[in-house]
């Protein structure tokens, strides 16, 4: 059976070149970068090379890059670390309603620590209105966080405009660029933000490694104490092989980005246009144009996402869904609900995230296998029965 992996938002595979770059550091070059002997030197050089590579990807200085254990850690670090560093100035934090949980729940933790939190709503495409951010700023606002793009619906946010507002008001601005760094151009100077998160497994690097870029001069309180690694801002022995992999992945992403974007956009646009032609009552979620090149997200009416996912899996196709049943917490995607989708429709969420290995034949295959699955599930759906009866009854 054909195997089609369309869950690259969960994780991309590791590129062979990245794996090759990592291997020596899982073998003979096992040294600890903090050590002063030659074993340590080799490891330290590798980490510093990776720091350069990551810095180049986002147009930053190497010394501004802090390696972390994941995108989630980077977001936790930014939200908590910046707020704690600024708390003498104020205790109000503003984040968008569609942030990744690592931002949203870090902000919730700040609330428990005595900070105040405002959630900025989004429109039906999941776009944050910069004026809405402006309206929610207060004298004691110390931090704003809006993601660069939302991985679930693909929508790219107007970061430059929001950054102009935060700068005018002297407020720090963090952006979660986990979905964009290594995928579309991300230049920290153009974005105008103060801190930015990224993660290796979103652009063909390894899992368990991320980075936080912190603009030179911005104060941040470490989450992990007890060591001088990462300039004293993130204690703990570095995950050298993963950091090397992240660096290599960043270098490859920078060089191949235009070709990758072209490839992904072509496949994405095929899904976005052809799937609604093959299946009635399907809506595209997220912004129709201004979206991630590899993101094709939909809600299929009258059926539930997990059952679609399981059926597709039985046909060799890997996807994900924002339905309540798919999540461990059994809650529908906060992103889809924030965009104003009714619960029943949000339950029909299905998300295709494309990768470099995908081909036109993969898209053909999905377009062939999905319609009968949808039909089958609709035939057993009480909601579809109501819909067809209402239709036949002439309302």
């Amino acid at each position: 059976m054909r195997q089609v992996y369309l869950d690259n938002a969960a994780t991309t595979p590791l590129l062979p070149e990245v794996r090759e770059a990592m291997l020596p550091y899982l073998g003979e070059l096992f040294g600890n970068p903090s050590c002063l002997h030659s074993w340590g030197d080799a490891a330290r050089e590798a980490v510093e090379r990776a720091r350069e590579q990551v810095a180049q990807l986002i147009g930053a200085e190497a010394e501004e890059i802090i390696f972390t254990g994941s995108g989630t850690e980077s977001n936790n670090f930014a939200i908590k670390g910046l707020a704690l560093a600024q708390q003498a100035k104020g205790k109000h934090v503003v984040v968008s309603a569609v942030e990744h949980f690592s931002v949203l729940y870090s902000a919730r933790t700040l609330e428990k620590w005595g900070f105040e939190l405002t959630l900025v709503p989004v429109d039906k495409y999941g776009v944050v209105d910069p004026d809405e951010v402006r309206r929610n700023l207060r004298k004691d606002t110390i931090l704003v966080s809006v993601m660069h793009a939302n991985a679930e619906v693909g929508t790219i946010e107007p970061i430059e405009e929001i950054a102009r507002i935060t700068r005018e008001n002297g407020i720090l601005f963090h952006t979660d660029a986990v979905a964009t760094a290594g995928t579309i151009p991300v230049k920290v100077k153009e974005l105008g933000v103060d801190t930015l998160s990224l993660a290796g497994n979103q652009f063909y690097g390894p899992k368990g490694v991320g980075a936080l870029w912190v603009r030179k001069g911005v104060r941040i309180i470490p989450l992990l104490d007890g060591g001088v690694q990462e300039g004293g801002r993130r204690a703990g022995t570095e995950n050298v092989p993963a950091i090397v992999g992240l660096g290599k992945a960043a270098e490859l992403a920078r060089m191949d980005m235009p070709a990758r974007i072209k490839h992904l956009t072509h496949l994405r646009d095929r899904l976005l246009t052809e799937l609604p032609r093959k299946i009635e009552r399907v809506v595209v979620t997220g912004h129709p144009q201004n979206r991630l090149p590899g993101n094709a997200s939909f809600c299929v009416e009258f059926i539930e996402g997990e059952s679609m996912l399981m059926w597709l899996n039985s046909q060799g196709v890997a996807v994900t869904s924002g339905s309540a049943c798919t999540s461990r917490a059994l809650k529908a995607s906060h992103v889809l609900l924030a965009m104003g989708l009714p619960h029943a429709l949000a339950q029909g969420s299905i998300l295709f995230t494309l990768g470099l290995d995908n081909t036109d034949e993969d898209i053909d295959y999905v377009l062939e296998v999905l319609p009968p699955i949808v039909d089958r599930l609709r035939q057993m759906s009480p909601l579809y029965a109501k819909f067809t009866k209402a239709g036949k009854g002439g309302k």
């Binding site: 997990e306 059926w311 059994l330 029943a344 035939q379 057993m380 009480p382 909601l383």
Partner: protein, 129 residues
Amino acid sequence: MPIYSEKVMDHFMNPRNVGEIENPDGIGEVGNPVCGDMMTFYIKVKDNRLEDVKFKTFGCGAAIAVSSMVSEMAKGKTLEEARKITPQLVADELEGLPKNKFHCSNLGAQALSKAIDDYLSKKNKGGKK
């Protein structure tokens, strides 16, 4: 490791007794779109036995498998026997359900019981049957 047992997958992919019954003797609806699972059971009763049981379900793999299993367990049983089908028995017959799915998806027995209630209340009102 897959989250569902082979039995759940079998009932999910080849559900038994899907559909509606024309002029059913009882209908039972449970669930709502917020939790994500909705089930409607239809029953036909003859001589105090469930002559036919059908269902329609909106929901995850577990919800569909549970509906299918309940319909299979209930068919041919007396109303009293059918009332004894509990969520635990259904889960056992399915060789287990994921822990977090046990409550939300395991609504089949409840829907069946509601259909029986519906049948009994119609009968007591002296309607058809």
